[in-house]
Symmetry: D2
Subunit: 365 residues, 4 copies
């Protein structure tokens, strides 16, 4: 396969690229480790955890690779090609800075580098940041930033909701069609709440329940989504009013956004054509037939985005967008970005694509 | 307890009222049987099922009362006080007509009698109906129709979504505050899809999934909700645009509606005061503190409605309303209505109330 | 109803009995509060919680009654008739002692008073105990100890597994039929692991998993089951070898034990007759037809025990026993015992019985 | 990768092997299609379905590859290298016979070819069979039959329970240690009940329940397990009494067997050494540390078998064995067998192995 890709013009190194993970015992860290363990061109050389240092990653998650964790202080960055930082918000920025200065490419999965506006960041996260790093990093919503990702030194990986919602409305925003109130209702599986055990993540709290949280404009991903809207509209998004209502649902993996937008004077077929033009060549975007709706089952355990477009009368449309929050919403997209940074085939090590749902490789013959 | 209620002025008969169920082996029929088995003033005297005639209701549902089912042809209506029709749409109207003519009060849980406009009914259900019956029946959204229910002869019990959504916006509608686009996203447990086994209700289809269906304006409950809006606004609801996006979620019982409405020039406290005035005396409506959101866990296995009110900026509000779709959304509300029809205490046999979450009785001492 | 029971000879007090709960914010404490809130003859007068003192019980569990919790130090025992201690093992014994000396009847839901043998207790729990209390308390596996419960001052409420397993084999043990190896496999919903949030109770750990724990003879309920076997056999249980393999399953409430016993020379019908003779008059024991198996769905949210008996060849039988671990396995049985202690109807406030699955009352007419 | 394997001596064809599936729209058929779509050396050239002919496999399962199904009559076997028959019992044998005569290798996932004894087959399945085919096929419990699989023309793929239980006791059986009563309790996710929608597979039946079925010796997999025991013991298994109690649990994928065996005079460490010797080189068998227990979470969505060994006192041991019932219990093992038949690397296209949990390839560099 690798040789096949070489014949296709990919510049694939003879030796695997060395990769490390900071914060490997959390939900996204474990998934990152699992993906790297199965990737033909990356080799996981270290993974850190304060809590589980000296133990196998399987102690943190029984389904994880059997890889021994080390304390962050024990990391040696010499010769490492790429770092994935899976640390909590506020802890990530200093680690990114340290790694970046030492040489490796860094893909940051926290929120620390996502918001370019300092005041907005402080209001949203209130955590440590580094404006210089932020100014130099690429926001890795892959399908909207592919050109900038090649050769990037720092990638800020998007949040799960901004990925699901953003890719669901990007074609409309870029075409200048969005206007007025956008109502987004979204659901997320409990893995989105992280590995921390608390009253919310207790089985007996989430089971049998659907629970709204931070409705209206209170969720911190609202700022990230509005930043993207402003970028795509190539104008201030002041005439857009985003309402975002997230809910916790009783399943492990998966996220669905159901979005109501007003697009007067345009037919469903025209909207669909807009999306098709933008997305038909995308290996991970599964644009459904006009009138269909996305669902979580189709995308769970894949890096796919499923997008459905339907009418709601009076010039309104219902857009549904589904992802696996741990893959396309976190570790999967991080690896997709890393593939692009290093000039590897974008789909490598990521399983199902639209063309071949479970096949990443066409080059066996 | 019964004697206590008598001292409170309730005219409670010396002998239990005789009740029958048509269509007892479906989801609402089983629940109706379970509620009647636990009700101190009703006695279940027959329950029909074509599929399970001659067998116990426990064959249809292992958690149901052990009550022998009979074929509908075997029913004797003499001396029966009240009938609950739990038949599929289209099969119910003729049964209601037959029962009504024979004397008993009828509470119909199907959609056959809900829509007063014949053309709308035909477009929505396309099923048999009886305009004369419809004109004479009371639409049993209890908290909005209490006065009319006393002594009613036919009650048309509301749909589950119209109950959840309707009670969530009734105070606003009655106060004439609703206007413009109302975006309702709703989730329902799989019991809402009925007992019929098919590709949608298969465990491996619903588990791990969230699935939108009939989004926009395609669900047949839209017509029922708009009929109520027109009634409450005491005006045509033409200036209101209702968008309704239902989703199937992986749990058995429960329903949540998350509604975005535009209410310019009114504060959250004022909105809350409006609801409090309307609902504070209601035994089954649990109005949360301003800013809180409803969730399914609080209402599952009860006849309660939990309602939350929160701000969404720019004059928008997020209203959340949660019910148990099989109880307040079907059999529970049917029994609540029957209690009122016969002059019994409204909460009798329905378990938790707002004042005493699991206590129906204050009169023991 | 109450008057009806009086006509049946029950000595029901004119005023409700005053009840208190120590440790109300845990899983069994919340259930105890919910049951007492719905009981016609008990009135909850206090409920303690260190963590939530000064807050409503609904803060601990959104589906709990809205009852204000107090610190244990603030409890006044004057005039209180019955105390339910729902404290962790080791914390309960001193509280029981203190309450008992102050006068009220005490029903203890912890493990502190269950094992009569001091050495066995120390090995099993290693917690504080009080031999004098233990010697005076009644072990409240209701169906086996009804006579002793009337007028008892201290009741030690059984563990969930000992209830499920014990009632499943009691008729065989009492008939002296048990012998040799008994293999018990059992499953429990996650509520059995308590309200404490940890790696085991995290939704993403339990969801999609079945997980054995403490298999063989490591679970501390083994000692309690063997103590009962010794009592019932009226002989040392040395010739019996109990193997007990508990598993965590992804549901909230419910417990099922699947037990393989060797009973040479006796037919399934004879075994069934043995159980029928013992259990047919029991309001909460649902003995299935010979050859049927119990399942959790039938008993969840009830105080029922469902028991199935089937053949396994070569003189072996498979006994299945299912309960709701929070009700018959904890708070439900505690209330059943309290009813008996005070001479109330045994089923009062406990919902479904075998004769009328959801009806506790026959006395309305 | 492929080239790497060639350097390791594998005789990998230049063109992919052509594969077909009969009965592709069932649970195992869909999984087979998904695995083949991701396999570098097999190419799916046809997949049949009576119900969905002319439609995409995604109509049957939204997470399946987008592959157009054809009617079985439309199949052309010329040039096809391997057939996977995923038909219901009784329908499979004639199809296997037809395919076998046309040339391709056949891997049969039904029960039609599993039982060598005609009388036992008739009693167990009562379905059509073909003694000649049975005599010539290899029973594909891979780890016990690896030598025979190379170059086989017909493979009878084992049942899910016989795989889980069989691999869990094979080392003991082969060492002649098994004796007396073996009590096996097993749980299976609902995918084990197939795609057919019925009262058992309805979400509202399985959710929140654990349900024993066919306990004792009634499940038809008992005969298959006893056939294996007889083979491995190299003697009649008459002195062994197998009791098998399967249960349905509320999850989609996964199977766990908890087995109690009597092994007098041997220590846990000795038992573990026996297993280690047999299994340490196995890429898909994850033998846990002595005293640990297997769980479903570790193996779901993989072809792995997780095996735990623990003591139960008095010479008894508790063996736990977990698999994904759709992968190692069906389609995964079928592909593992096909890899061996064609001399391909055994782990190809099967994802996680013990050495590299999610990595099938070591050969990228």
């Amino acid at each position: 396969m690798i040789d096949f890709y070489r014949t296709q013009g990919f510049d694939i190194p003879d030796q695997p690229l060395k990769a490390g993970i900071f914060g490997a015992s959390g939900t996204t860290g474990v998934e990152m480790a699992r993906l790297l363990a199965g990737h033909p061109c990356f080799e996981l050389v270290f993974a850190t955890s304060r809590e589980f240092a000296g133990q196998s990653l399987r102690v943190a998650d029984p389904a994880a690779p059997d890889f021994e964790l080390i304390a962050p202080e024990a990391v040696m960055l010499d010769g490492v090609d790429v770092i994935f930082t899976c640390l909590p918000h506020g802890h990530s920025a200093p680690c990114v800075e340290m790694c970046h200065e030492a040489g490796p490419v860094v893909v940051d999965l926290s929120g620390d580098l996502r918001l370019r506006d300092a005041a907005l960041h402080d209001k949203t996260y209130g955590s440590q940041r580094n404006q210089d790093l932020i100014d130099r990093c690429v926001y890795g919503l892959t399908e909207t930033m592919r050109a900038q990702l090649a050769g990037a030194k720092i990638v800020s990986n998007p949040g799960c909701y901004p990925t699901c919602v953003g890719l669901g409305i990007f074609p409309l925003a870029q075409a200048g069609k969005l206007n007025g109130t956008i109502v987004v209702n979204a659901v997320s599986g409990v893995s989105g709440a992280g590995r921390k055990a608390n009253a919310t993540t207790h089985f007996c709290s989430a089971y049998g329940d659907v629970r709204p949280y931070n409705v209206g404009r209170k969720h911190r991903h609202v700022a990230e989504m509005e930043q993207s809207l402003t970028d795509w509209l190539a104008a201030d998004a002041d005439n857009i009013n985003l309402i975002f209502n997230p809910h916790l649902v009783p399943l492990e993996r998966g996220m669905l956004a159901t979005m109501v937008v007003q697009l007067p004077g345009i037919s469903l077929d025209e909207v669909h054509a807009l999306y098709a033009e933008r997305y038909d060549a995308e290996p991970f975007i599964d644009l459904l037939q006009a009138g269909e709706t996305a669902r979580i089952r189709t995308v769970a355990n894949t890096n796919l985005v499923s997008i459905g477009l339907a009418e709601a009368g009076e010039g309104h449309f219902v857009i549904t967008s589904a992802i696996d929050n741990v893959l396309k919403g976190a570790a999967g997209q991080a690896l997709q970005n890393a593939n692009l940074v290093f000039g590897l085939p974008e789909t490598l090590g990521l399983g199902a694509t639209v063309a071949a749902p479970m096949k990443e490789l066409a080059g066996a013959q």
